[in-house]
Symmetry: none
Subunit: 415 residues, 2 copies
């Protein structure tokens, strides 16, 4: 049996999950590890503490999944209905597990907690259930129902993870015929539309059978994830590396890197290895470039600082942009962007500088210079260049596109 047929699902229960008060940590914890191990989860269901909906979900699961992981609802309170509700669905009597009961009593004694009769329901499990017991640290059980593997785990993340790691994952890997390996890699692109990425991949899909692809717009970037399954992870890594390299080559400058490489990190590394320094002059991006650059720990090694010059006065006083340039060409112009870039480079005494001036909107546009009009300046050892862009979107989107495009320009320049 290949893992492709070995489909499973996860059911997490708890009203606090439906209210959004608590993010579901258990389902994601299991999903990440199952996926990495090549086991396919086809659905995750998050429920409250009501029995009927849980029972309906469990029945559906039994009809379509080879394994089901249920978390939550195993506690001592009235709303802990999992064991009883499951027993009903599986047409099994609830029985008291004497061993579990004794162990629970012992745990309470050791923790100096008074035992109450209502706690006895903690030991009520469907007949035939196998207790998952890491020496009393948590409390869950396993059932094999007509070939389907059912794992019932506590909702407390620490306990759930203990049982998942020690019992569930190893057992499922064995069950899935040794379990194929799975390798996944995410590639980041800027400047290519999702559909252009799809074309890139289609061009080389036939040379790389078995590599599945997913596209995730991640404004202002586009991400692509390659997944491949097989017996030997070394071979899979090789295969992924080959596809990734071909894609990167075809995408050219639009390829940013692997999932961990944010644009500011890449740029930071480029500057660091060459011992270059950077300063930024921002108008319409309003400090976003500085903010992103300084999100990187250690950025002070190469980022000297920046100036946000909204007013003409600031452009003149701080960056020494000639009054005549502002007068002749306007604040939003190539010459002003160039003067800002040179000015901030000299003021901070850095090797490279970026400058931005434009109209983020929603007001301030004109027929000649509509909202979204942005001029970029890049000053470096070889002198200064400017670029004209016309962005589309909300004020915030225009700021984001402006910052990304400016930083990406320097990245390409340094490549």
């Amino acid at each position: 049996m290949s893992t492709a047929d070995f489909l499973g699902e996860i059911i997490t229960t708890g009203n606090e999950l439906l209210s959004g008060r608590i993010a579901d940590a258990n389902a994601r914890y299991a999903a990440v590890r199952l996926h990495a191990a090549g086991l396919k989860v086809q659905v995750i269901t998050i429920l409250g503490d009501a029995a009927p909906l849980f029972q309906d979900t469990l029945s559906r699961g039994l009809s379509r999944s080879r394994f089901i992981i249920v978390t939550g609802g195993l506690g001592p309170t009235e709303d802990d209905i999992t064991a009883a509700a499951a027993a009903e669905v599986l047409h099994l009597p609830l029985r008291q597990d004497e061993y579990l009961l004794a162990r629970l009593r012992e745990c309470f004694r050791l923790r100096g907690l008074p035992w109450e009769e209502r706690f006895a329901r903690l030991a009520l499990v469907p007949q035939g259930a196998c207790i998952l017991d890491p020496n009393g640290a948590a409390c869950g059980f396993y059932l094999n129902h007509q070939g389907a593997r059912l794992y019932f785990l506590p909702g407390v993340p620490r306990e759930m993870r203990l049982l998942f790691d020690n019992y569930v994952l190893p057992a499922l890997l064995l069950a899935a015929a040794g379990g194929e390996a799975v390798c996944e890699r995410t590639l980041r692109f800027f400047g290519l539309h999702e559909t252009e990425l799809e074309d890139l991949f289609q061009n080389l899909a036939q040379d790389h059978q078995g590599v599945s692809v997913g596209y995730y717009p991640n404004f202002p970037e586009n991400h692509l994830t390659l997944t491949v399954r097989g017996p030997k992870s070394e071979a899979l890594e090789k295969k992924l590396e080959a596809v990734a390299q071909e894609l990167a080559a075809q995408a050219g400058d639009a390829f940013l890197g692997g999932s961990d490489d944010t644009l500011e990190e890449i740029l930071g590394r480029q500057l660091r290895v060459r011992q270059l320094t950077l300063a930024v002059a921002e108008s319409c991006s309003g400090g976003l470039i500085c903010h992103r650059l300084t999100n990187i720990p250690g950025s002070s090694d190469y980022f000297q600082g920046g100036v946000v010059t909204y007013s003409n006065r600031a452009k003149v006083n701080l960056l020494h942009v000639p009054e005549s340039t502002l007068h002749t060409h306007g604040a939003v112009s190539g010459p002003t962007a160039a003067a800002m870039a040179v000015g901030v480079r000299d003021v901070f005494g850095v090797s490279y500088s970026l400058a931005v001036t434009g109209i983020a909107g929603p007001t301030g546009g004109s027929p000649k210079k509509p909202v979204g009009t942005v001029y970029l300046g890049l000053a470096g050892p070889q002198g200064v260049k400017t670029r004209h862009c016309l962005f589309q979107g909300s004020r915030e989107e225009i700021k984001i596109l402006t910052a990304q495009t400016a930083m990406d320009w320097l990245r390409r320049e340094l490549q």
Copy 2:
């Protein structure tokens, strides 16, 4: 009809969610706000991009829920199956929405992207669908199927939230109240714990029967949502206004305002009405204050600009911080914060200025000045003040807390 009967569910789709590669942000975003507004979600289902399971889940949803919110699968690629799969379940033909198609073409044109025929599938929606259209910023649709309300939203969180906030939540609140009017108001607080907020409300709950409350943390702020139902919306608004005013009074300076009032908007209004101007000098916040201030349209009327001075050299050259101050007290100190505030105020010739210097980490801390140590300076007509803060969290969290605390300080100052 009471909202107790008005049960709904959320279906999010995307293979990246099942692999756990991406945490589901959309379902939780919706769940928190629906819960806070008193609307009950009974199940959240996370699926991949396979049509059969989605169709089965949608059918189950129709049999048990009054509203269903679906996110994801509305894109232009092959794995975007939502619209077609839903049409099949609902026995509706897919039709091309000419208006949507025209708008898409226009968006592509404005963004300078070449139009391709396959993009037309973006405009294929089930017959009778009502397009949710915030002027081309996102793309989703609504269907009423035998009394059940179905909302199909994009998977891109930014777009999903835009449609959810503007179309889905208001419409569901109306629907849930049946003939009744329903009023909802969110109040924002900074500097009060969620539990402190809860206490505040408990104090006056008995005087305001029928007002339901929900809390959700919105780092670094805490938000509280009040909901009331009744025959006359005027009366409800009065009631909400009364509760809101009492809460605001009890919270004092910690009360920021209604849901639409971001801190940067409030601060902007304060400066605008008094015709005051502002400049900012940032070190460890790295431009985040400037970025937030300039997110507000028209901020150039009062925000003159800022300086991000990571290096001492920049602090001296641009802000005229005395070398002796840096030498005697260090870059991260009250005197330096004060000198930066005075310097940036004078350079930009503004009425008020904020200055920040600190250690965002993860490195750079010392026993005397650990990571999270931040000094704030505020210069105004009455002179200059400084504040010492010690924040905890990641580098980004410390930047966020620093920016928020500095802006909030000026807000309280101007109040």
